[in-house]
Symmetry: C2
Subunit: 326 residues, 2 copies
């Protein structure tokens, strides 16, 4: 099977590429070909048994979506996106990439379907940002979508379009609402959620980290490898089991900041914990207050999606990767 | 206040025009000006105290949305839409009018907001078609939106955009999910829901009507005057009370086909009821089975929206109008 990754140069895209190449399969099929596209030139992976094509392209440029699917990939991982903070700061960019980009992709597939019966699997990465306040402590699979950000709005609109095009048979799609990825590797970024990873990653590297919210704040997390695991699991899933409801909130670990800190202490000791500096930021706290704390992900679990075992396991994965990289 | 009605030549648009002109007010303000736009030339109403402008224009034509709001109406009633059956039959038309048309309107307002601080009230008519199976017998205000039609998808996407633009302060919007309007006047049309009105309207006019579903089918209704009432009530409402949740499912009357028939019998007798011919259509029955039966509309009721008293009252309104018209 030919797999296409849009947004292949991103954090999850790079890991997914690696995982696909390592397994040599996608779902139940051998991986014959891999197309990697991103506005940033993606690296060609080493050791892929199938044909690899990499391309630097903006999904929203005229014809780019048609070119992307020209090889008729059997599965499309659509990860290309402008992240939350950027979509809020730059409204037109966010709607262009996150909404129009998704629509251009799905419409290119629709036209290909009309032309030659093409009907790929499409795995779209959505987000918890589709949910907004007021929220119950544990959110069920039937809970209403009311985004509190433009990013969440764009993801929710993409989910709806994907579901409609799936219903009409142009494609076979799923929207995976990923938990907040933690521990996110790399430099601290401007994402509001950045501190959730920062208070683990930075102290373990001997650097200070700022904590802008109270220790009681609770949120929903998955490790980078759990995120890759969700995408790989989706590749093998029969989406017919989803019915009309093509969006899934995925299992995660619900943890408070205090629990994060205790997990850090176990591996880094008091020395690491001492590197966390409490610097309350009311603006950040007010945003985080509106975020989900936990989900009952019955549907996703019934479909075989599994989460990290605990926040300790999330930290252990990070430590192992950090040591392997160092 | 200057009011703009987009879709003014439609069934609800014509009634809303009449009601606004009759009251001479919109919300708490005198009606100074009325702009009526539709792809079909709207009739200019008689007796309007304010300035009236009518225009035949396609909302999706380049510049049409900017022209529509050039007079900076303080309130925009956005009713222009391609209906359910047409949006399903003609995918591109449905997305163009129902999604792009709405987005063009909201983006024109966003640009005007940036240019001169314009920030109108926007009342968008959404639909129960945003809900899809599986549904509980009574649907609460927190229930998930999973449309089972392209029309419902387009309405749900419009709701999301309107909520985001409201949150960002470009406009002050509300999406009203109207119940199925019954008794819909005029000729039988191809809407799947047409028989709900047809089995009342046609027999009362001495004509036969076809009933394609079992008598046990239950659905959610509002009279044409209740629909107009919802729009007028919204005009006077402080949308700040909605918070992030800019969409409201409106109160209605939950009635079975059997209850409809008994209401018909009360005014038209057995003679009228005898004009209903049962002609089961499995395709229609399968679609209708996925439709909502009843809602708990706590939020809308708390905001002062009120429904018809009963299905008998709905029929009585139709009879009165029919007699006035005849
Ligand atoms: N990381 C998380 O916590 C998280 C949580 C929920 C959902 N997601 C979603 O998962 C996906 C991947 O996330 P990530 O953490 O790898 O993000 P990332 O920012 O690292 O990767 C996104 C990639 O998309 C690319 N891209 C942006 N605009 C593009 C365009 N116009 N054309 C082509 N490529 C473009 C970027 O260059 C980037 O490489 C995104 O859709 C994101 O919204 C991530
Ligand atoms: N009638 C119902 O049962 C019901 C239920 C729920 C929601 N709604 C919604 O309420 C609104 C009004 O419904 P209605 O029953 O009066 O429908 P209608 O079809 O009678 O009126 C819609 C009007 O929109 C106009 N229109 C279509 N495309 C246009 C375009 N591109 N530019 C400008 N005008 C355009 C049509 O000419 C028509 O006059 C619609 O948005 C509809 O989706 C109706």
């Amino acid at each position: 099977m030919h797999a296409l990754i849009l947004g292949a140069a991103g954090m999850i895209g790079r890991r997914l590429t690696k995982a696909l190449v390592a397994s040599g399969t996608v779902g139940d099929h051998p991986l014959d070909a891999l197309t990697l596209i991103d506005v940033v030139q993606p690296d060609a992976p080493a050791g892929c048994a199938g044909t690899v094509r990499t391309e630097a392209a903006d999904l929203t440029a005229p014809g780019a979506a048609d070119t992307a699917i020209a090889g008729r990939p059997g599965i499309v991982f659509h990860l290309a996106a402008v992240v939350s903070g950027e979509a809020e700061a730059n409204l037109e960019l966010g709607y262009r990439v996150n909404l129009d980009g998704t629509r251009l992709l799905l419409d290119a597939i629709r036209r290909a379907h009309a032309a030659d019966g093409y009907r790929p699997k499409v795995v779209f990465t959505s987000s918890l940002a589709v949910f907004g306040p007021p929220l119950p402590p544990v959110i069920g699979d039937d809970w209403i979508v009311t985004p509190a950000s433009s990013y969440g709005t764009q993801k929710a609109m993409g989910e709806l379009l994907l579901a409609d095009y799936s219903r009409r048979g142009f494609l076979d799609g799923i929207s995976l609402r990923l938990p907040t990825i933690c521990v996110r590797p790399g430099k601290p970024n401007k994402a509001v959620s950045g501190f959730f990873s920062g208070i683990i990653r930075e102290p373990l590297a001997g650097r200070p980290a700022i904590l802008p919210v109270p220790d009681t704040v609770r949120h929903w997390f998955a490790s980078p490898s759990a995120a890759t695991g969700f995408l790989l699991h989706a590749a093998g899933l029969d989406f017919g089991r989803l019915g009309l409801r093509r969006s899934l909130t995925l299992p995660g670990v619900s943890a408070t900041v205090a629990e994060e800190i205790e997990a850090l202490r176990k591996v880094g000791g008091d020395k690491a914990v001492a590197l966390i500096r409490r610097d309350p930021d009311d603006a950040v706290a007010r945003i985080i207050e509106t975020w989900p704390e936990a989900f009952a992900t019955d549907r996703a679990r019934a479909l075989g999606f599994t989460a990290d075992a605990s926040f300790d396991a999330i930290v252990a994965e990070h430590v192992a990767e950090f040591q392997a990289g160092a």
